[in-house]
Amino acid sequence: MKRSPISRRNFLTLAGGTTAAAALAACGSSGPGTSEGGGSASGAATYWSLSGPPGEEIRKAAVERFNKANPDSKITPTFFQNDAYKQKIKTSIGAAQGPTMIWGWGGGGLKSYVDANQVEDLTDWFSQNAAVKDKIFPSSFGAATVNGKIYAMPIETVQPIVLFYNKKVFEKVGVQPPKTWNDIMALVPQFNSKGIAPFSLGGQSRWTNMMWLEFLLDRQAGSAVFDNVFAGKAGAWSDPAVLDMLTKVQTLVKENGFIKGFSSITADSNADQALLYTGKAAMMLHGSWSYGIQASEGGDFVKSGGLGYMNFPTIEGGKGDPSNTVGNPGQYLSISSKATPEAKETAKKFFSTTLVDDAEVEGWIKSGGVPIIKGSDAKLGASPDAEFLKFVYDTSANAKVFAQSWDQALSPTAAETLLENIAKLFQLQITPQQWVDSMNGVIGK
């Protein structure tokens, strides 16, 4: 879900070959190098994932733990920038140069691998290893399942989208956090008159805008509308609730609800989050991972209790359940069907041991995340961020529906059209009706 807009076209140096990869791994560098496709003999496996804090350190630590315990079957990890990774992994898999273990977001992207027979069916493995399956949040398996079969192991953390707000700014202006949509619209002119932007938004990243649509539609009409889209029903976007949601978004844009210049701000430079903790903006809708970023970059903003958070407000007369949330129900690790049997065994061993061990759980908690491991809430209390982690755990566990982000749930083709139209919608370049028409055109694609 988190993506970088920065192009890194030449990540994979053509020269080098395996020696370069080995050398890079030996120096413990995070720099990507070449790696042989699908792992080689004697159970050595490759693992591609995302770079950047806090995840990279934890992933690296997991691989090191595994390699220490299994000196015969080493895993070689390679880390990539978010956006670069999305394209890199697709091209590599298409060219049969992919890694043994494929890190991903599940949903539509995973489905395209499944359709191309590129990933291993793990259904049987999970029924044989019920102990592993039982450790993981059941709701996380939704996005790992295609046509009733499990093709990925949910790993790492649950990441619901949260409405963050700057308590200090609210105090300064003398207003209360919103409970409903009308509250939000009433707050907009109050903040604007004080020269503070009501909402920060990294609009160039586009999925940031999408979170607004996801919540507004859910609060307005529940999860049924998008379920129909997901199921590929013709004309599913034509629901009146969609038009209503799109009109609400454009009203908020027209009333200067979002910070000036939002469409040139990217989320991956963390500029949108900087706007919140520097007090230039009062509120921000963002993934729960933003907490860790604000804690590490915002000075004592988080430590001094400046950061407030809540689930998205309700809409007056809306039919959606206010406990519903959207976001990433987990991250996902698949095994390449093109890997050698030995490499596949190594990967499965990695799944059943290291990825569900205590060190893994503790690592993610320490980074400000809630692991997808059941009962990890008992361990949250020890963390300095216990209050926030408890909030995320409860939001995820109590949500009647924890919907996957639309761009991850849909196929890459439909997701690109979605993001493109959302950007135009926020730019007031198209009307809500035009939006509905173009989105109906890619249903089921």
């Binding site: 359709d115 469409s263 083709t413």
Partner: protein, 308 residues
């Protein structure tokens, strides 16, 4: 598609060298020809073939006739992308050419401090497009950028957040990056103009401005065409810069053809239509190069120094 410009240049070279020479040196073109076939022609044929298929980049490639072409040609995004491409091409040419000529003429004079300045002017060319884009993006940020930092309201525009402004910024950054290169070409060309022509003009009583108009510019004719060809065909491949700076946005205001191709192919996983766009891009590039060659009279080998 960055392979576009070199083939054009190479065709020109081989055409002029084969004329009037014996066959014994033809083999010298062989290495270049092999490289061109391996990295230019073969991928081009591959792309042409792909444009008649349906492929998501991962699964099997299925032939599907004209489906991809129909989808591409009926997409309202295509004329828009073409329009943006030509707009950026025309405007960046109109900005770069006069400035490059002036700087080139200025630097051509053999004075020591100008040599020093030439080195300074050259710096932008040494930076990668991605680095330039990231820097400009940071400088132009409406909340944390140069304008906000210095408190200058004129600079705190929503530079990359409004369609026309973003287009202007792209043209500015492109010009900033490439003017040094074209200045260098002009500098070299101006130095080749015989000084006797200027001396004759001086005797006839022509001032500096008059000699610039009547001698320098006409003598630079072929250089202008060369430099324009590079600019125009090169502008078709502006991808990295725009991708990092605006990602084609806001909305689709700066979504040029090359970017459209990339997004269609690698983000939307529609390799068929993306290949169709690539073919269109090649055709546009070839057509432009041919037109510019026609304008040049196709007689580059003939002397530019008539009357000298």
């Amino acid at each position: 598609m960055t392979t576009l410009a070199p083939p054009v240049a190479r065709v020109r070279k081989s055409a002029s060298s084969s004329g009037g020479r014996s066959g014994s040196v033809t083999w010298m073109a062989l290495p270049a020809l092999l490289m061109f076939i391996a990295f230019g022609v073969v991928p081009l044929v591959g792309v042409l073939a792909l444009s008649f298929t349906t492929w998501d980049g991962i699964g099997t490639i299925k032939p599907s006739g004209l489906t991809s072409w129909k989808a591409t040609l009926s997409d309202p995004g295509l004329p828009h992308a073409l329009w943006v491409t030509f707009l950026i091409m025309a405007l960046s040419w109109a900005v770069q050419t006069p400035l490059s000529i002036l700087i080139g003429v200025f630097l051509a004079a053999r004075k020591r401090y100008r040599g020093f300045l030439a080195v300074l002017y050259f710096i932008p060319l040494l930076l990668s497009s991605a680095a330039i884009s990231i820097t400009y993006k940071a400088l132009l940020d409406p909340n944390f950028g140069l304008g906000a930092g210095l408190g200058i309201p004129l600079l705190t525009q929503d530079w990359l957040g409004r369609g026309n402004l973003a287009l202007g910024v792209v043209i500015f950054v492109v010009s900033w990056q490439f003017i040094p290169f074209h200045s260098l070409i002009y500098q070299g060309a101006v130095r080749q103009i015989p000084t006797s022509m200027y001396e004759a003009a001086q005797i006839d009583g022509a001032g500096r401005f008059r000699s610039f108009i009547s001698i320098t510019l006409p003598q630079l004719k072929y250089t202008i065409i060369t430099s324009s060809t590079l600019m125009v065909v090169g502008s078709l491949t502006f991808f990295d810069l725009i991708y990092v700076l605006t990602a084609g946005g806001p909305g689709d205001a700066t979504r040029v053809l090359a970017l459209d191709m990339y997004i269609t192919g690698f983000q939307a996983s529609l390799m068929g239509p993306a290949s169709a766009i690539a073919v269109i891009l090649v055709l546009v590039g070839l057509a432009l190069a041919l037109v510019l060659r026609r304008i040049g009279g196709g007689s580059n080998s003939q002397s530019q120094l008539e009357g000298a």
